[in-house]
């Protein structure tokens, strides 16, 4: 099996087999993280463009480290220091980057669908490192890898996702990945942040329910994914930290409602004392640091697959349109549902 898309824009369109393949491909790169010498030459001579239009520390460093451990060079664009601040359009910015001939673009952007939009305009592979409140595919993969390592499987688990679901691209990527393996989801948080439509965002048959009482939401959980409260994406009046803590903070006592060895995941950065207590964050059930390490392995696998798969090792064959000769783009529109009334 190979990865058949040119890009990684979202996990939603991927099948269970394709997701398993990506997780399996990450395994050898997990090994490398334990070696004293971590640098490979696999992508020597290749360049990865990192375009982070939205603040990010861990994801940017993680992708940068992944690239360098594969022997690739990186070019970095950060919104604060770039022409974006001077009013340049996203399209102009990425086309300028593309003209510097990177082999892959990793981008984060505050607008949902931004990576999808950019991928339509570029020939090189695009990896979505988080787009607005849509998806964060590499985070979904690294979470699944972490769960699989600890529990030995990712099938048929009870997954409770806690916090600001509405604004969480991490939650969406997790639902789209784990849902393909029969996991059942319980979403819990202040009702304004857990809109009812979320119960229907999974593939047909994926069980997603909303529960507003935390202890009840944790019953029988195999995995608890704690989200950060994303004040920067709020349009609604927020609730106070005190109210949030009262209702939704994951503490040791509440965690006891979950299965005895339930895992606790958090995509970071954590607000200790807000959505999670230090006791839980640092406890034996917490996977927070493994998630970070696995993030590099997953991203190495993605860069390796997309760059080495994109055009063979020789780069683009001269004079051939990449659009015609290569893998399809990994985005929703390519597997758009039939809409009977709008047939033409």
């Amino acid at each position: 099996m190979t990865y058949r898309y040119r890009d990684l824009l979202a996990l939603e369109p991927l099948s269970a087999d394709e997701l398993t393949f990506l997780l399996d491909q990450s395994r050898p790169f997990q090994e490398i993280q334990r070696h004293p010498l971590k640098k490979l030459a696999t992508l020597r001579g290749k360049t990865v463009a990192l375009a982070f239009f939205e603040n990010s520390t861990r994801t940017r460093i993680s992708f940068g480290t992944a690239a360098s451990r594969l022997g690739a060079d990186t070019m970095n664009l950060q919104a604060e220091s770039s022409s974006v601040k001077k009013g340049e359009s996203l399209l102009d910015t990425v086309q300028t980057l593309d003209a510097m001939k990177p082999d892959c673009l990793v981008m984060r952007h505050a607008s949902s669908g931004a990576a999808d939009f950019v991928a339509r305009h570029l020939d090189i592979p695009v990896i979505n490192a988080g787009d607005g409140t849509h998806e964060h595919p590499s985070q979904g993969l690294l979470d699944a890898l972490t769960i699989r390592d600890r529990l030995g499987k990712i099938d048929n688990l009870n997954v409770t996702i806690l916090g600001d679901l509405q604004h969480s691209r991490v939650a969406r990527s997790n639902i789209h990945l784990l849902g393909k393996f029969g996991c059942r989801f319980t979403l819990c948080g202040p009702a304004m942040w857990v809109p009812r439509e979320l119960e229907k965002i999974g593939a047909p048959g994926v069980s997603i329910r909303r529960v507003f009482k935390l202890e009840e939401a944790l019953e029988d959980a195999d995995v608890v994914l704690v989200l950060r409260v994303q004040t920067e994406r709020m349009h609604e009046p927020s609730i106070s930290n005190e109210d949030y803590v009262l209702g939704y903070q994951l503490n040791a006592e509440r965690l006891r409602h979950a299965k005895p060895n339930a895992l606790v995941l958090h995509p970071g950065p954590m607000n200790r004392g807000s959505e999670i207590t230090s006791e839980v964050a640092d406890g034996s059930q917490s996977c927070v640091l493994e998630q970070v390490t696995n993030g590099i392995a997953v991203r190495m696998a993605l860069l390796f697959l997309l760059i080495s798969g994109a055009a063979g090792d020789g780069g683009h064959p001269a004079g051939t349109s990449a659009e015609d000769s290569q893998a399809p783009r990994n985005r929703r529109s390519t597997d758009k549902k039939e809409v009977p009334h709008a047939s033409d």
């Binding site: 939603e12 669908g113 229907k200 985005r331 529109s333 549902k337 033409d344």
Partner: protein
């Protein structure tokens, strides 16, 4: 003289659906008769053979943005009316959200002057309800009416407050001019780029609920009850709004509404990360679309209007949430109406023609019929002609249509204004 012969004439005003020859002289219709039965001498008339085609009164679009003055890189009155002519429209009402806003008689006169030298389509400006459409002071509605506006609206947004809406309604009632409302509760819609629902949740795009529209319609209907004004609800998209209009009509209030082709064709589930699917009001839910078609059929909806909203590629080719709202509409309106409403058997051809002619005319308080001495404005279209829309061939300066590359059955064939063929396929 121009003789339109052998066409199937559909004239909602007289409920005519029959083969007729129509003789035009100068800017007027002079005679209609069964084929070959004209009594007037027409030996020297230019002949248009409309065999196999529908001949209807000139189509009116109540809702369009021609972008001039001020946003000429997206459209001009010239390019916009050329599109309108290709779409079969003989008259177009243009919204006042230009730069500057059409909130005074000099802007109105400028638009009308430009229209004189443009493509020949009649341009009927709509004036702003408030100065600068800012929702503070009432605009110079009387002066604009004298200059030629046919309605007022702060389109692009609602008239800001209930109190100002009431005052505008009172004033417009005294001036006998309709108030067209872009119905939206701006607090419910704040930040939203599509309709709220499963699709917006999946895409991570911020959604507005149907109530963002319907609470404003409900408010305005109450104010019509208070003031006795004529209210026309622009681009109505939600079932709940339609129910408000239905209720108002049952009470005998003068409330009308229009629906756009994109709202009776597409739904929120069609939205992709492609700004050609971004408009306001946004594409609605499946059940809304179904209700709109029912309303188009049963008479609750008065008109089909395009909300032709050109935005040049540089503005539209951006992240979805940063793109402006709106899509092109003129050139696909007839074809989409046939495809979605007539070919499916939901509406008769007569009813469809009504929605483009007598329907919008009555919103404006004017007549639209085929009879001697009436203006020689005709829309001739085919219900069978197969064609594919190629937006790159459009006379518009913009390209923002989700219907690019769609294949249609049925098309505008010729547009006649004041006795002159201004467009012929």
């Amino acid at each position: 003289m121009l003789l339109i012969k052998n066409g199937r004439v559909i004239d909602p005003a007289s409920k005519t659906d029959a083969a007729r020859d129509i003789l035009l002289d100068g800017e007027k219709i002079v005679e209609l008769a069964a084929p070959g039965k004209l009594t007037r001498d027409h030996k020297n008339a230019e002949v248009f053979d409309a065999s196999g085609l529908i001949v209807a009164p000139g189509f009116i679009d109540l809702h369009a943005h021609l972008r001039e003055p001020g946003q000429e890189s997206s459209e001009t009155i010239e390019t916009g009316t050329r599109c309108a002519a290709r779409g079969g429209f003989t008259a177009v009402c243009c919204m006042p959200n230009t730069k500057p806003v059409n909130d005074n008689a000099s802007v109105t006169r400028f638009i009308l002057d430009r229209a004189k030298t443009a493509a020949g389509v009649r341009v009927w400006p709509i004036g702003a309800a408030s100065v600068g459409s800012k929702g503070e002071a009432i605009a110079e509605i009387a002066a604009m009416k004298e200059a030629g506006i046919v309605a007022v609206s702060d389109d692009g947004k609602p008239i800001a407050t209930a109190k100002l809406t009431r005052q505008v309604m009172e004033y417009c009632r005294s001036l006998d001019i309709p108030v067209i409302e872009h119905s939206e509760d701006v607090s419910l819609a704040a930040g939203a780029v599509m309709r709220e629902g499963v699709t917006s949740s999946r895409l991570g795009l911020r959604g507005m609920p149907a109530a963002a529209e319907s609470v404003c319609v409900a408010r305005d209907v109450q104010l019509v009850e208070l003031t006795g004004a004529r209210l026309h609800v622009a681009h109505l998209s939600a079932k709940a709004s339609l129910e408000q209009v239905r209720w108002a009509k049952q009470r005998g209030l003068h409330v009308t509404c229009e629906v756009t082709p994109h709202h009776f064709t597409l739904i929120d589930e069609d939205v992709q990360y492609d700004s050609r699917y971004k408009m306001n009001p946004p594409l609605a839910a499946r059940e809304d679309r179904e209700a709109l078609i029912t309303g188009l059929a049963d008479g609750t909806v008065d008109a089909i209007a395009t909300d032709h909203a050109p935005h040049e590629p540089a503005l539209k080719d951006v992240e979805f949430d940063r793109a402006p709202f709106g899509i092109l509409g003129f050139e696909t309106a007839i074809a989409l109406s046939l495809e979605q409403l007539v070919h499916t058997g939901r509406l008769t051809l007569m009813r469809m023609v009504e929605l483009f002619t007598t329907g919008p005319a009555s919103v404006l308080g004017i007549e639209r019929k085929l009879a001697p001495n009436q203006p020689a404005d005709l829309t001739i279209f085919s219900t069978t002609h197969e064609w594919t829309y190629d937006v790159k061939q459009s006379p518009s300066k913009s390209r923002n249509s989700p219907f690019d590359a769609r294949t249609f059955k049925g098309a505008p064939i010729a547009t006649i204004v004041a006795g002159r063929i201004i467009y012929k396929m």
